[in-house]
């Protein structure tokens, strides 16, 4: 199948999923008995039926549920996610404001995770059942087993409070002015503006949270790398390659790793997607003003337009990551091209 047809098929397939996601987000948001009137109008305003009616009109609360859903989809198609009840800002603006911080952290986290995970995974596959395998597997077991919030607290206590090696919570020291916004990612914006001290400060704030996230991701990647490498290493054609007298290094890197990449790419993609949306715990400990913390606040204050908007965003990210992974498969797996 040619590439463009393959992509088209995947994209068409995505549409009903996205539609279903909007419906589900909408249903969850409306499953709550709480009346947003109470949380959002003052007591005096609430006793005035005119004000209450105006509020219901403004937020579309005076319509039936199906009508509200249709309005919601219509707005969505115009890129309008609605307004957060709590911040009274457009949710799309809120997302644009909080998302860069999350993307920045997730990217550094995945870099740490991939480097660490593939290295330990390869080591333990190649030197299987040796002490190196045991050590690497133990590290990955700890990575997937210790809760990120516990890891984060231990890291903060030891590295920041006791040893003073890394910066504390937040994206920058409070006295630093953020660089002029281009991408919203401080390390990139600081470099673009040539503000070296801001860059190093932002980086020092990224070290601890990205290590914490990275260790967790490394645990997953390491396990997948090990098992898919083992699977490939045991296959006939590698025996053939070895029999042909190819150096072990060539066998491992040229043949084995390339064929083990499919599951590894999948898990990296999914991990990145989950970091973009699932770093709630890390963000809350490191006071990281990202989208996870925004979602957390929305869910504790029953800000349902915001909960819906962010859920949609996350589901969208998930679908897109899957799409990208599918497209990568196209290049990695000759069978797809031939089918």
């Amino acid at each position: 199948m040619p590439l463009h047809l393959y992509i088209l098929r995947r994209v068409v397939f995505v549409i009903p999923v996205l539609l279903g996601i909007t419906l589900m987000a909408f249903l969850i948001a409306n499953a709550v008995p709480a009346d947003p009137i109470n949380a959002n109008l003052s007591q005096r305003a609430m006793s005035d039926p005119e004000i209450v009616a105006a509020f219901r009109r403004e937020w579309g609360l005076d319509k039936t549920l199906p009508e509200q859903y249709v309005t919601y989809i219509a707005n969505l198609l115009q890129g309008n996610l609605g307004r957060s009840i709590k911040s009274r800002q457009l949710i799309s603006d809120d997302i644009a404001r909080f998302m860069p911080a999350t993307i920045e952290l997730a990217t550094y986290g995945i870099l740490v995770g991939v480097t660490l995970g593939i290295t330990t995974g390869m080591i333990s596959a190649i030197w299987r059942n040796t002490w190196m395998d045991a050590t690497a597997r133990t590290i990955s077991l700890i990575g997937v087993s210790v809760p990120v919030f516990v890891l984060a607290l231990i890291g903060l206590y030891v590295l920041h409070v006791k040893l003073g090696l890394t910066a504390g919570p937040g994206r920058l020291d409070f006295t630093m002015t953020p660089p002029p916004t281009v991408t919203g990612m401080y390390t990139i914006d600081a470099l673009l503006a040539g503000q070296w001290n801001v860059f190093t400060n932002a980086l020092s704030h990224l070290v601890l949270p990205s290590l914490v996230l990275g260790l967790f991701i490394a645990g997953i990647i390491s396990r997948v790398t090990r098992s898919s490498m083992l699977e490939v290493l045991g296959m006939d054609y590698l025996r053939t390659a070895r029999a042909k007298g190819l150096a072990e290094r060539t066998v491992v890197i040229r043949h084995a790793f390339r064929n083990a990449t499919i599951p590894i790419v999948t898990v990296i993609g999914l991990s990145y997607g989950s970091l973009l949306s699932g770093a709630v715990l890390t963000e809350s400990i490191f006071a990281w003003p990202g989208i996870g913390r925004y979602m957390y606040r929305a869910s504790t204050s029953q800000d349902f337009p915001a909960i819906m908007g962010v859920s949609l965003l996350f589901a969208f990210i998930f679908v897109m990551v899957n799409l990208v992974v599918d497209i990568l498969y196209y290049f990695l797996d000759p069978r797809i091209r031939q089918s």
Partner: protein
């Protein structure tokens, strides 16, 4: 000739160097604070966070001394007159006063600001309940009342009555029209800008993250702001504030706990202020039997008051046990020596009398919130443990503060735990806890019908009495009554602890706005 050219060159270079050094030497004050507001619009925001911020960016007609609320001082108004019947107040404005934009502060601006606040009907508007009209007449501000209000001037110095620049607010969606509650759209702009005459201007507000203030270059007063920028960082946890202060990331921590004081005092370069606060932490027991169930029974209410381990709360958070809902230290208030003491046997007897000898189960609503170092969740757990001893099983129902507020304000809490900070510094504010008033009547549903003659007549006297001796007698009678009756169990008046870098000068704790950040400076 050559020499002078060289001299000029050197001078230019020197200026450049000095200029560069100054640019880097920006004076910044960073304050850690547990943020608790969803609006910085003076017509809407109404709590300690807004008071703290508004004090730096807005001014009011009158104000308090920097360290107390003991007297009323001129603010934007240079002087004022009160009519003999107490119903008309006339203010002359300080002719020198200008907004940050450079425009003069006029009587029209004042009338616009007050009318907008009243008509928007946000939380602060309740402070204007006695105001009949506000008008600008021949350059003077004239406020007429529906009834005499002994506390009007104190209210004018507090939240809601900040003066905003009418033209600027109107240009950004604000209106003071009678239907402002639905048509005013000024809030979004006022959440990111200020339109005031204070020493600082609002540069940005990122909710739950930080508020940035910059110096007002057009400040008309003798002493402009010292810092180029003031950053108020949201730090909900006291532990974070302490660590950030110790590492020098912040200069002032507003919400440290009593626990942290010894270790902060021993730290180099940190000064700790300790004083008696004026916040009362109390339990509310709904007086409406349909809502309160067993909690509406007067015997149960008294049993709860007698079952609390009062000194235990002080050992958790410092401060004192108040004798009633009026904070110790207020005019007419009883001291902590008059506080109730625990009497479990009497409490059990009262429960048995009410028909609950075997106890009962009840849900306690409270916000997940730490205010001035007092973690309400900790107290809620202790309340549950205290009441367990007389057989009352308390289930905890924590809520995000804005969510929890809704059932509280609507009087739908069966049993809840809240705190009260005075709107204005006068015992009259605590009449709100009496039957038919905001907290007593609406929130605890202690209506006139559910109250007895004694307290109703005390309430009515308190509202109008202005003779000092007679006032003391009335408020003492109210405190005596509330120790035995009523739907409230006040149990803690926490101390306040503020820690700051020792080079900060001119720090004063203030009962209304916590601290006036705009008058601070640093030793050089």
């Amino acid at each position: 000739m050559k020499v002078s050219r060289l001299a000029i060159l050197l001078l230019v270079l020197a200026l450049l160097v000095v200029g560069a050094a100054q640019a880097q030497d920006e004076k910044v004050l960073v304050v850690g604070h547990a943020e608790a507001t969803d609006s910085l619009d003076p017509a809407r925001g109404y709590n300690q966070t807004t008071s703290l911020i508004h004090q730096t960016i807005y001014e009011a007609l009158v104000t308090f001394p920097e360290d107390s609320a003991a007297e009323i001082l001129p603010g934007l108004a240079s002087d004022w007159a009160i009519s003999d019947d107490g119903l008309t107040y006339t203010f002359n404005l300080n002719p020198a006063a200008v907004f940050a934009s450079g425009a003069p502060v006029t009587a029209e601006d004042v009338a616009f600001s007050f009318n907008r606040m009243i008509n928007v009907q946000g939380q602060p508007s309740s402070l204007a309940s006695t105001v009949a009209s506000v008008a600008a007449v021949d350059g003077q501000v004239v406020i007429t009342l529906t009834q005499p209000d002994p506390s009007l001037l104190a209210k004018l110095a507090g939240p809601g009555f900040q003066v905003t620049e009418a033209a600027l607010v109107q240009a950004n969606g604000g209106t003071d029209a009678a239907d402002a509650a639905t048509t005013d759209a000024g809030e979004a702009w006022l959440n990111g800008h200020s339109a005031g005459s204070g020493r600082y201007m609002l540069d940005s507000w990122e909710p739950q993250v930080q508020t940035v203030l910059v110096r007002n270059p057009n400040y008309y007063g003798a002493e402009p702001g010292y810092y180029d920028r003031i950053i108020i960082v949201n730090m909900p946890e006291a532990a974070t504030q302490k660590a950030a202060l110790e590492s020098g990331e912040i200069d002032m921590a507003l919400d440290v706990t009593a626990d942290q004081v010894p270790s902060l005092q021993s730290a180099d370069g940190i000064t700790v202020y300790q004083g008696s606060g004026n916040i009362i932490h109390f339990l509310l027991m709904n007086a409406n039997p349909d809502v309160g169930g067993p909690m509406s029974d007067p015997n149960v209410q008294q049993a709860v008051r007698l079952a609390l381990d009062y000194p235990g709360y002080v050992s958790l958070f410092g401060g004192v046990n108040p004798a009633s809902i009026i904070p110790a230290g207020f005019l007419t208030a009883y001291g902590p020596d008059r506080a109730l003491t625990r009497d479990l046997d009497a409490a059990r007897a009262l429960l048995a009398e009410a028909g609950y000898a075997d106890g009962f189960e009840v849900t306690l609503n409270y916000p997940v919130f730490t205010f001035q170092g007092v973690n309400m969740e900790t107290n809620a757990q202790k309340v549950a443990a205290d009441l367990a001893e007389i057989g009352i099983t308390v289930n905890l129902n924590p809520g995000e503060i804005q969510v929890a507020l809704e059932s509280y304000r609507n009087g739908l809490d069966q049993f809840s735990y809240w705190f009260w900070g005075p709107d204005f510094i006068d015992p009259l504010n605590y009449v709100e806890f009496l039957p038919g008033m905001k907290v007593g009547g609406t929130r605890a549903q202690w209506t006139d019908e559910r109250a007895d003659e004694t307290i109703l007549s005390l309430r009515d006297q308190a509202l109008v009495e202005s003779d000092p001796a007679a006032r003391t007698a009335v408020f003492e009678a109210i405190q005596d009554y509330m120790q035995q009756n009523g739907p409230f169990a006040p149990f803690l008046q926490p101390g306040v602890q503020v820690a700051y870098a020792s080079d900060i000068e001119n720090y004063f704790w203030h009962p209304q706005w916590t601290v006036d950040l705009s008058i601070l400076s640093s030793a050089e």
